[in-house]
């Protein structure tokens, strides 16, 4: 059986700005990235800023094009899917809930949008689904006609998740969905993810630099470093004994709330070349 998401040897580089005559050089951002995500699993991607996590998400979402390699959704190259078919299969949740909701549209309009674009729902059905989804993500019905500016960050992120789930996608791409929220709200959103995962049988590519979040939610963990996946394994095994030197550094870099613990040593001997 095909995995739901498979990335095969993807390479992607960004060109540096060219002058009128000079040729720019290319900065590699993804280097030979391969991964498989089976239906029902949550794959956590961790790594420091600039390691290519978000680029990987944008590649899967077809917002960027790989220089070489392929992204397969259920065995089919995602470039071959129609916009509708792709939207029905893959949906994103973004990091910043202040930028991901249109400030000029009400929640009802925002949540209806994916259904309108999908095109096979009559107005009555759309309204019913919007109301049901509002309940499902734990937002009161009275917010239906309010604007994003009237909501808190946590509420906004619930709306963003609801919007992604409106078309019942099979794969959710979450690019740091909790990093813009404060810790207590983070916990609520993760709780919601747990519930939704159970109810919808979600498969999820979950990107975060917060290892605690990944440990909580992911079945498998991929560690990205300088555009490569340097370690990929079961979540439990990974947190028990990371293999790659960078993974160990990453794990020791977190600052648990233990008074008196010194800052970790973050030297990178393997980068000496």
């Amino acid at each position: 059986m095909n995995p739901l998401l498979e990335v095969r040897n993807a390479n992607l580089s960004f060109p540096t700005r060219r002058g009128l005559f000079g040729r720019g050089t290319a900065v590699p951002v993804l280097r030979d990235v391969s991964l498989r995500l089976e239906t029902g699993q949550v794959l956590g991607i961790v790594g420091e800023s600039g390691s290519g996590k978000s680029t990987l998400a944008r590649l899967v979402l077809r917002l960027l094009k790989a220089d070489s390699g392929a992204v397969l959704i259920d065995g089919q190259d995602h470039r071959d899917l129609s916009p509708r078919a792709f939207a029905a299969a893959v949906q994103p949740v973004f990091q910043d809930p202040y930028s991901s909701l249109n400030p000029k549209r009400t929640l009802a309009q925002i949540l209806e949008m994916p259904l309108v674009l999908a095109g096979d729902f009559v107005a009555e059905e759309r309204r019913t689904r919007v109301r049901a989804m509002l309940d499902r993500v734990g937002l009161p019905q009275r917010l239906l006609h309010s604007y994003p500016a009237q909501l808190s960050g946590g509420q906004r992120q619930r709306v963003a998740i609801a919007r992604a789930l409106m078309v019942r996608p099979r794969l959710l791409i979450c690019d740091e969905p909790t990093s813009a929220l404060d810790v207590s709200v983070q916990a609520q959103i993760l709780q919601l993810f747990d519930e939704l995962r159970r109810d919808f049988g979600l498969t999820c590519l979950f990107i975060s630099h917060n290892l605690a979040v990944i440990e909580r939610i992911a079945d498998r963990v991929g560690v990205m470093y300088r555009g490569q996946i340097v370690e990929d394994g079961e979540g439990r095994t990974f947190f028990a004994g990371p293999q790659h030197a960078y993974s160990r550094l990453l794990l020791s870099s977190t600052l648990p709330p233990i008074p008196g613990r010194p800052l970790p040593d973050v030297a990178r001997p393997w980068d000496a070349n």
């Binding site: 916009p83 991901s100 249109n102 925002i110 949008m113 006609h145 500016a149 009237q150 963003a160």
Partner: protein
């Protein structure tokens, strides 16, 4: 969560609008001028073009020698000045509104295209904007009008083709920022076409800025019409236009100053009112983020 009703943003905006003195004053004056222009034939006491050489240069009714039948006096051809002022509002508003809309369409379209698509399209749009900005607007208008001859349609066309630059610059900048927003990306992934995104996601967020530019451009167009008509290159007599009225009264500036300051005051009041309206709209319509 308690069941406290959230304030409806539209109603909140209306409340802010009603409390905004400048907005209300501007709106009142503009509305009054619009009503005068629309119902000019019903309101004007005389035919604005009817000459009566026996009744030349009658001063306003409150001055010595004034005639109550001619409230604001008559001009050098014995035409009722009040009626001419009322009919003159038609030209000013026609030019102001048409130029505002037409140049807005040109400028906003260019701004949307350049700002949203970026790359080569944006380079082209920027090039066109730069070319336009390098031309002195009123001088070009003068030259073209003297070549083609003045008429209302020519004037509107020429001014519309010249005054879209501010729309284009403002729209382009605003759209460029919105293009990066995650809600645009979300719509994109949900399968929305560029046209859908521009109309449903981008346009509502740019409208307030465009509206403010629109009021500025309308005031600008009205002033340009007055200037061109004053120079004899705009609306042709005997059509009453405030610019023409000032031009015709030039020779009586010292003997009959009211012939100059009355249309002057009319232009000043309308332009000021439109600017107040624009400032007010800006203050009232951009509350997102601050509450």
């Amino acid at each position: 969560m308690s069941d406290i009703a959230l304030p409806d943003p539209r109603r909140a905006a209306l409340r802010r609008a009603l409390r905004h003195g400048g907005l209300i004053a501007g709106l009142a004056v503009v509305a009054a001028v619009v009503l005068l222009a629309v119902f000019a034939p019903l309101i004007a006491p005389h035919d604005p073009a009817a000459q009566n050489l026996t009744l030349r240069l009658i001063p306003p009714a409150w001055q010595e020698g004034g005639n109550p039948a001619y409230l604001l006096g008559t001009d050098h051809l014995g035409r009722d000045y009040l009626s001419r002022l009322i009919f003159g509002a038609r030209v000013s508003l026609a030019v102001g509104l048409s130029v505002m809309v037409l140049s807005g369409l040109i400028g906003a379209t260019l701004g949307f295209l350049g700002g949203y698509f970026g790359g080569r399209i944006d380079d082209l749009v920027m090039y066109v904007i730069t070319v336009r900005l390098s031309m002195p607007g009123l001088l070009v208008a003068l030259a073209v009008m003297s070549l083609l001859g003045g008429s209302l349609v020519t004037m509107i066309t020429v001014l519309s083709l010249l005054f879209w630059d501010r729309y284009a610059v403002v729209t382009r900048t605003a759209v460029r920022q919105l293009r990066q927003a995650d809600f645009v990306t979300a719509a994109r992934v949900a399968g929305a076409s560029h046209r859908w995104i521009l109309w449903h996601e981008v346009r509502p967020n740019v409208m307030p800025q465009i509206l403010v530019v629109a009021t500025l451009e309308m005031a600008m167009a009205i002033l340009s019409e007055a200037s061109l008509s004053f120079l004899g290159l705009g609306i042709q007599p005997p059509t009453p236009s405030w610019g023409i009225m000032i031009a015709e009264a030039r020779s009586f500036l010292f003997a009959k100053p009211y012939l100059v300051w009355m249309p002057g005051l009319a232009i000043f009041a309308l332009v000021l009112a439109i600017n107040l309206l624009g400032d007010g709209l800006r203050d009232v319509s951009q509350p997102e983020g601050r509450r």
